[in-house]
């Protein structure tokens, strides 16, 4: 039997009259990447602050590797790697000194510490800049060091709180590749983001959070099914598309066709599987297509469907 690395059960946190986190529950299995997707102020950071034992919950429990997590707990924190949203590094220390300090605080020492620091420096691509003070690093290098510190103790659970905020596209891609690699090594990852694309790319399961409540969770496909799960294929071109519509409606999987003379919009179950047949049928009807556009529902659509507002509202 495989035990979940993280079990969050009915977590509640209030700040005065504001309930920042309201009855949030989810689990993460070993090797799984779980994304908390929600806009700014949704309760993501407050949730992971309780998961990481930074603040106490008003109600509910957090269990990391079978150990109950509280701000005073020590044991569950041995299994944890936290990468805060801010650049939580000391600018007047070198990259190596930053890693060595936090490695010591994690309980590493002696040759074990040195070897692990070297490994992490190589992993984050800073081995040749290890002796430079981190304040001299570029923004992307600082981000990589920030992540590297979270990896020092080979955590069972790695928590990444919006690690790509304010990062250039190149560094962002490098970070996402790193997370994919870590997940592939069996590490459980809790990843918070308000970028839909990141959640879709990285996460095995996604929890959609808004106003402190977990609105829905599941795989990407599970969530998309909540919207009805239909794709659209939009055709544009010359010829009589309105006349071709009758033939297009006969294709199995096509649920609806809205056609005008120069364009048609098809509602289908699985657009990628049908698009070739749709294009062929239109051609057979004498239509010369100028453009074909497939639109599939994404997490933005899911969020809109669940909350009535956009992720970036």
């Amino acid at each position: 039997m495989t035990h979940d690395v993280l079990v969050v059960d009915s977590l509640v946190r209030r700040f005065g009259d504001l309930t920042a986190v309201d009855e949030v529950s989810f689990r993460i299995a070993p090797g799984e990447t779980y994304g908390l997707l929600g806009p700014n102020g949704a309760g993501k950071t407050t949730t992971i602050s309780m998961v990481a034992g930074l603040i106490a919950a008003d109600a509910g429990t957090v269990t990391v590797a079978g150990e109950p997590m509280t701000p005073r707990a020590i044991e569950p924190k041995r299994h944890l790697g936290l990468v805060p949203q801010e650049l939580a590094i000391y600018p007047d220390l070198t990259g190596r000194e930053n890693l060595t300090l936090f490695g010591r605080l994690q309980g590493l020492r002696g040759s074990e510490l040195k070897v692990r620091v070297d490994e992490v420096l190589a992993l984050i691509g800073l081995a040749d800049r290890a002796k430079d003070r981190s304040k001299e690093y570029s923004g992307g290098m600082k981000r990589r060091l920030n992540i590297g510190i979270g990896l020092l103790n080979r955590p069972t659970l790695l928590i990444l709180d919006e690690p790509t905020v304010g990062v250039d596209p190149q560094s962002r891609n490098a970070i996402l590749e790193s997370v994919e690699a870590l997940s592939g090594e069996g590490m459980a990852v809790l990843y918070t983001t308000h970028y839909m694309e990141e959640a879709e790319r990285l996460c095995d399961r996604i929890g959609i959070i808004d106003s402190g409540r977990l609105q829905a969770e599941g795989t990407r496909d599970d969530l998309i099914r909540l919207t009805g799960g239909v794709d659209t294929i939009r055709l544009g071109g010359s010829g009589d598309l309105a006349a071709a519509a009758e033939e297009l409606r006969l294709i199995p999987g096509v649920e609806r066709v809205d056609a005008e003379r120069r364009s048609a919009t098809l509602t289908v179950k699985d657009a990628p599987a049908l698009v070739a047949q749709v294009v062929g049928t239109a051609a057979d009807c004498g239509v010369t297509l100028a453009d074909v556009e497939i639109t599939r529902p994404d997490l933005e659509s899911v969020f809109l469907h669940l909350t009535g507002k956009g992720l970036r509202d």
Partner: protein, 391 residues
């Protein structure tokens, strides 16, 4: 313990590298000590220029020689160099006009007779442009003599009015004019708690800047919170108190080392001897503990590092000025007792004791005040609602 030392060592390394500690803890106070020493340091080394006094007195006046004798006797006093030149009235005035002497005293004809008759007596003083502090001292003494003569006059009048026989008035007058003040001034050692001007400046600036220096440790908790490193530290498998204790240790070490260096360097530069090294070291450690304790209150009150800097400056200046870092401070009543509980004042008092030859056994009170202050501040910080960095 290893984690405490790792965190403390790392923090100290960062403080050394960012240079701000060196600037605030050493360079600024040493610069201020130098400036203040240049401005005020000469007060201890006051020198009175030699003064020549031209005195003209009627040859047949039997009381005038007394006045001349008193002025001449001033030459025997420490720090005073008085030369009396006896001349006639015109000569006395000419010497002042010519700038040969800064002061001339002209005793009028009938001076002694007037005194004996119970009439007002005067001596004309002629001051030149060059009259300095020495001449002022001579004049003050002459004023005192004339007051005594006047008191004899009053005595004579009162005696005669009361029907005392004229033959008996003389002894009474003599008694009134020669009795001297009704108190004795005994020369001896100055107060054991008195620092010289130079040493007071060094100790005062060291005490004041100690309060700035210790802020680099504990208030670093606020900086860590703003940068996110506090969250990272709290996610580590270490007890929360280790983080706070490491910052306190950084404050304490920085405060103690900086104060020790300031006293040593300042003492060397400005020729101030603070006495017994073990006793001074104990005072410095206690002052560092007191200063560190204040910072716990500061981080409770301030919610940002910027606010902490402002609160620290206010606290440091209030305690520093109130403790006599710039100039001696005194108060009456209950306020006097409050001032005595100021750790900066206690440090200065303790250093005064050690500079006067006191040892470990003599500094119990200032040590107790500083440690008591530390305990009170720590307790008080527990009463102020926490804003997140200490819990």
């Amino acid at each position: 313990m290893r984690q405490l030392l790792a965190l403390t060592g790392s923090d100290l390394l960062q403080r050394m590298r960012d240079k701000s500690v060196l600037i605030f803890a050493l360079l600024v106070p040493l610069a201020l000590m130098t400036v203040f020493n240049l401005v005020f340091g000469a007060a201890d080394d006051l020198e009175i220029d030699p003064v020549t006094v031209a005195i003209s007195a009627p040859a047949d006046d039997d009381l005038a020689p007394m006045l001349t004798g008193v002025v001449r006797s001033l030459d025997d006093a420490d720090e005073l160099d008085v030369t009396v030149v006896e001349t006639d009235e015109a000569g006395a005035r000419r010497q002042v006009e010519d700038g040969d002497t800064p002061l001339a005293l002209v005793v009028p004809v009938g001076f002694g007779e007037a005194a004996r008759a119970g009439e007002p007596v005067t001596v004309e003083a002629v001051r030149g442009d060059e009259a300095g502090l020495g001449a002022e001292i001579v004049l003050s003494v002459v004023d005192g003599v004339l007051d005594q003569v006047a008191s004899g006059t009053v005595t004579a009048r009162a005696a005669l009015a009361e029907g005392v026989a004229p033959a008996d008035v003389g002894p009474l007058v003599e008694q009134a004019t020669s009795g001297g003040p009704a108190y004795d001034v005994e020369s001896g050692q100055a107060s054991d708690e008195q620092l010289s001007a130079g040493a007071a400046l060094v100790a005062g600036q060291a005490g004041l800047f100690l309060l700035f220096t210790v802020s680099f440790g504990v208030t670093g908790l606020l900086v860590d919170r703003e940068s996110g490193t506090l969250a990272r530290l709290r996610s580590m498998p270490i007890p929360g108190w280790v983080i706070v204790a490491a910052k306190a240790l950084v404050s304490f070490v920085l405060g103690a080392v900086a104060t020790g260096v300031l006293l040593a360097v300042g003492g060397y530069l400005f020729d101030a001897d603070f006495g017994s090294v073990p006793a001074v070291a104990l005072l410095v450690l206690c002052a560092a503990a007191a200063g560190t304790s204040v910072m716990f209150l500061v981080v409770r009150v301030a919610s940002t590092s910027e606010q902490a800097g402002i609160v620290t400056s206010i606290v440091a200046l209030v305690l520093g000025i109130g403790g006599g870092a710039f100039f001696p401070v005194s108060a009456a009543g209950a306020l006097s007792g409050v001032l005595d509980l100021n750790p900066v004042a206690a440090l200065l008092r303790g250093l005064g004791t050690t500079s006067g030859g006191g040892g470990l056994a003599d500094i119990g009170i200032p040590v107790a005040i500083m440690l008591g202050f530390a305990v009170v501040m720590l307790l008080a910080s527990r009463l102020v609602p926490d804003r997140g960095v200490l819990s």
